[in-house]
């Protein structure tokens, strides 16, 4: 679904700055190994979110003592996250109701 990846990224970064690989792993593990984000989707998305001004990036040292690019939420990103979360909750609620009605 469009926008889902953005929401996942923003949500993951709410916990604190992380580099691309860590974001990928976090989504993988937190989704109970359900969502696998491809590199080819993740990096363009990260840059797109930067262009929109929701993320900032900065080079830093990773756990393996390697240079890696860390992404961080901007205040605007925080606001966007809140907005998207509400939006998603609405969709989930709506979908649940609709699907539930059909079920019963």
């Amino acid at each position: 679904m469009p926008g889902t990846l953005d929401l996942l990224i923003l949500h993951t970064l709410e916990a604190g700055p992380a580099h691309g690989y860590a974001i990928m792993e976090a989504i993988w593990s937190r989704s109970g190994e359900l969502f696998r984000v491809e590199e080819g989707a993740l990096y363009p998305a990260l840059h797109r979110l930067q262009v929109k001004g929701w993320l900032e990036s900065e080079w830093g040292m990773s756990e393996a003592n390697r240079k890696a690019k860390y992404y961080r939420l901007t205040p605007e990103g925080q606001r966007q996250l809140a907005k998207e979360r509400t939006g998603w909750a609405q969709i989930a609620l709506g979908m649940g109701r609709v699907l539930g009605e059909f079920k019963s």
């Binding site: 580099h19 262009v51 001004g53 390697r66």
Partner: protein
């Protein structure tokens, strides 16, 4: 907005950042690979396997890297597009600001481009010939002072001579020295041409046969002239001419039948050999050539002109190709060293021993002429330099004015910019927004400027009688780009820089930046200084033009018209001219409305001049050059017709009273040799040893001969009929009592009746000739006055703007002063005093500048010194009064500030 411009700007910006972005993506990718590989290794996979798996997972990295890049690029594009729309919106809202900026840019860019286009067309553009950079001309310098030399009526020392005689040219073709090949161009002028019965008057150059081969010009039709055409008697097929593309179109409608067509030139049959390419109009910028004929054809056109053998007749400009790698300085040395050899070669020309000595004393200089060589180039180079300096000043005034306008605007937009910065816009983004606005204005100004330039670049050469191609070529476009870059840099950079820095100060109290105030004040001083110099120059020129136009010419000829009919080409043969002239004169004198009439060999104040040394018994020890006089050949009735009173003696008698040598001289000649006018009557002078002595029968006051600037030229008049049959080219002077137009029409009918066909008639008046001779001065005065007016306007608005801003900034202070009992009058005076101070500073700087430049215009001034105290005082008063007037509105506003309102917190 222009799509191409948007993407151009973005791409330019991108160029610097693209590689950085790529590097960033590259690094990020490498980091990701390393992290993933490490994670896989931790899971227990072998290193090689882990690396492979990590790379596979990455997929088509190039593709998504590209996507990422585009996301960024699009972002910048979009931001720029937003800036442009926002800019257009803002500019449309602030109409007055936009109008003033566009006007300033249009005038400055227009004036600069126009003057540069003319400079380019006359002095810079390379000739459209093969390897123009190899072309050079030969100039004789170190001229011995044996003759006298006038430029625009001013006697000067002859420093160089552009013309050589035909015998010397012939010698040069045999010993070319530093040149590989040479060609010669004899003077250019209009001739009467008849094509299929219809008349044309093309500008014609007489060129040596080597002209086209050396230049390497290829014909667009037919063939061009060669050395086989330039021989005694002419080639077998008859005398050939080559015509320009323009004449081909006008006279032949570009028909192929033009080649080989028989035409007549000054009644001599010629054959059209070919047509030059459209771009080629000769090697004489300022005079576009329409027809070329071999020099040798002059023997058919002017049978009595002994040009071929007379070494004393210098009439050929010599140009050629320098040997590759030979610098003009070295070439000059080589040529000068060749002089004795050349002289030996030209020996049969029969130079006197004196002339030989003089020739050997001269230096032969070689000068590079890739853009051609012509008299207009020499005449107008100094004029163009003055104009370039003036438009440069206009540009500086305009650019500093724009700086001030933008600064003032940036100051008034501080609120807006501070808000944008607070909302997260980076200083870079704000700077971009401001630069986009400057760019929009600049483009608008360039568009307007180019339109103005197109008009001026045609109008100015027309005013100077210059035939110039001033189209926009690459050189001019490069110049416009450079001018624009300069303006944008001066005008856009400083305001953009201060504006983007203001977030540091934005939250501070609303006091303006002191540095920016000082900067604006210094810009105004600079503007005032330049305006002062321009105004002074304009005033000096205006005074000179007034002086020249109202100069006493010695004629009283308001009711006299001058007609020069081309009877020869209307069908009157050379021998028949004498009779025709007499007959026309008799008839004209009978016509109603004619008071008196006379023929003269030269129209007063016309372009030609004839000089000779007279022999005065008792004064033969004076060197011949100091016995030189201007000659006039006139019929009876001349002095009365031109309104010249007789001081002593009598007018020439009517021809019926017999032919006897006599002359009338101007007062200064008479006084110089005989003491008084009356003493000259009955004396005898000689023209040459073999002619009879000539009796002085009358003395007249000095009249101008060929230019108003002349200081009473010594003149001797001869009755034209004593020289025997008259040759073509005389001018009929007619003093009339009624309206001019019907009389001129009647006289033209008389000419037609006499000749059998309608002749070409040049009509002029003494006043008209005076105006004609002050064209350059008039143009300079008009342009300088225009530029100065522009400067004055800008300085005034600059002062008013600066003070308005200061008043606004200091509202509280003024409010307190007023509340504490200051008189409004005192406040007003303070501000006006400030304006006066600024103007005075500008005046001092401008005065220094003008003093440094005092000699620049010297040769164009007349009866006024460049340092004339009266002129400069008036200019200073005008400038100071303008400054005070400009300050009066803001000063008045300051004095009307309501203390209660001013002190209320914001």
């Amino acid at each position: 907005m222009n799509g191409w411009m948007t993407s151009l700007l973005t791409r330019l910006r991108q160029l610097g950042q693209r590689s950085q972005l790529d590097q960033d993506l590259e690094d990020e990718l490498a980091a990701h690979l390393a992290l993933k590989q490490r994670a896989l290794e931790l899971e227990g996979k072998p290193a090689i396997e882990a690396a492979r798996e990590a790379r596979i997972a990455l997929g088509n990295a190039t593709a998504w890297q590209e996507q990422t890049r585009e996301a960024w690029l699009f972002n910048r594009l979009e931001a720029l597009w937003r800036d442009i729309r926002f800019g257009v919106h803002l500019l449309a809202k602030e109409r007055l600001f936009t109008f003033v900026v566009l006007l300033t840019l249009t005038l400055s860019i227009g004036a600069n481009t126009a003057v540069f286009s003319i400079t380019n067309g006359l002095l810079l553009r390379l000739l459209p010939v093969k390897q123009p950079e190899q072309l050079a001309k030969l100039v004789l310098t170190n001229i011995p002072a044996t003759g006298r030399y006038w430029v625009n009526g001013r006697e000067k020392k002859e420093t160089e001579r552009d013309f050589v005689s035909y015998p010397l040219y012939q010698a040069l073709t045999k010993q070319t020295g530093a040149f590989t090949e040479i060609f010669g161009v004899a003077g250019t002028g209009t001739v009467a041409v008849e094509v299929n019965g219809s008349p044309h008057r093309p500008m014609t150059a007489r060129v040596t046969g080597t002209y086209f081969p050396v230049l390497g010009v290829q014909p667009q039709a037919g063939r061009l002239l060669t050395s086989e055409d330039d021989i005694r008697g002419g080639p077998a097929g008859g005398w050939p001419v080559v015509i320009s593309d323009g004449l081909w179109a006008r006279a032949f409608n570009r028909s192929g039948t033009a080649i080989g067509a028989a035409i007549t030139v000054e009644q001599v049959p010629f054959v059209v050999a070919g047509v030059t390419p459209r771009a080629f109009t000769g090697t004489t910028p300022g005079t576009a050539i329409d027809m070329w004929m071999p020099v040798s054809a002059m023997e058919a056109l002017y049978p009595t002109f002994g040009w071929r053998t007379n070494a004393g007749l210098a009439f050929l400009r010599v140009q050629g190709r320098l040997k590759p790698g030979v610098a003009p300085e070295l070439a000059s040395q080589q040529m000068t060293a060749m002089a004795p050899g050349l002289l030996a070669e030209a020996k049969e020309a029969g130079l006197s021993a004196e002339a030989e000595k003089q020739f050997l004393a001269m230096k032969m200089e070689v000068r590079s002429t890739p853009a051609g060589d012509s008299t207009p180039m020499k005449t107008y180079r100094p004029v163009l330099l003055i104009l370039l300096a003036a438009v440069g000043a206009v540009l500086l005034i305009a650019a500093t004015n724009l700086t001030n306008l933008l600064l003032a605007r940036a100051a008034s937009r501080r609120q807006e910019i501070a808000t944008r910065l607070a909302l997260g816009a980076t200083p870079g983004r704000v700077r971009q927004q401001l630069l986009v606005e400057s760019t929009l204005l600049a483009l608008g100004g360039v568009a307007g400027g180019l339109v103005l330039a197109q008009w001026l670049a045609v109008a100015i050469p027309a005013q100077l009688n210059l035939d110039l191609d001033t189209h926009l070529d690459l050189t001019v476009l490069a110049f416009v780009a450079a001018v624009l870059a300069l303006v944008v840099l001066i005008a856009g950079w400083f305001p953009a820089w201060t504006a983007s820095r203001q977030h540091y100060q934005a939250m501070r109290a609303s006091t303006g930046s002191a540095a920016s105030g000082r900067f604006r004040a210094s810009m105004i001083v600079l503007q005032t200084a330049l305006t002062f110099t321009l105004l002074g120059g304009a005033a000096l020129m205006l005074k000179s033009v007034q002086g020249l136009v109202h100069e006493r010419t010695g004629f009283d000829a308001q009711a006299t018209v001058l007609l020069t009919p081309d009877l020869f080409n209307a069908g009157i043969s050379r021998p028949a001219h004498d009779g025709a002239y007499r007959h026309i004169l008799e008839q004209a004198r009978q016509m109603p409305g004619v008071v008196t009439a006379a023929w003269t060999g030269m129209a007063p104040l016309g372009p030609q001049a004839q000089l000779t040394s007279i022999n005065v018994p008792g004064h033969m020890h004076v060197p011949p050059k100091d016995r030189m006089v201007f000659l006039h050949s006139v019929t009876d009735g001349y002095f009365e017709t031109l309104g010249i009173p007789l001081l002593a003696g009598r007018e020439f008698p009517a021809p019926s009273s017999g032919r006897r040598w006599m002359c009338i001289m101007s007062e200064d000649v008479a006084r110089r040799y005989y003491g008084t006018p009356n003493a000259a009557i009955g004396q005898f002078i000689g023209l040459s040893k073999d002619k009879d002595p000539i009796e002085v029968v009358g003395v007249v006051p000095a009249t101008k001969y060929s230019h108003v600037r002349e200081a009473s030229p010594p003149t001797v008049y001869f009755p034209s009929w004593i020289n025997g049959p008259q040759s073509p080219g005389m001018t009929l002077a007619v003093r009339h009592s009624g309206a001019r137009e019907p009389l001129v029409a009647a006289l033209q009918a008389l000419f037609r009746q006499e000749a059998g066909r309608v002749p070409y008639v040049k009509i002029s008046t003494v006043e008209g000739n005076v105006r004609e001779s002050v064209r350059t001065e008039r143009l300079l005065s008009l342009l300088l006055a225009g530029f100065a007016g522009f400067g004055l306007l800008i300085s005034a608005t600059g002062i008013a703007g600066l003070l308005s801003y200061a008043v606004q900034q200091r509202r509280r202070e003024i409010g307190i002063r007023l509340a504490l009992g200051s008189a409004p009058e005192a406040i007003r005076r303070r501000f006006q005093g400030q304006a006066l101070l600024l103007a005075l500073a500008g005046l001092l700087a401008g005065g220094a500048l003008s003093y440094a430049l005092r000699q620049v215009m010297d040769s164009y001034l007349y009866r006024v010194a460049a340092t004339d105290p009266m002129v400069w005082s008036v200019v200073a008063i005008v400038l100071l009064a303008t400054a005070v007037a400009a300050a009066s509105l803001p000063a008045w506003r300051a004095s009307r500030i309501n203390p209660m309102e001013a002190l209320r917190p914001e």
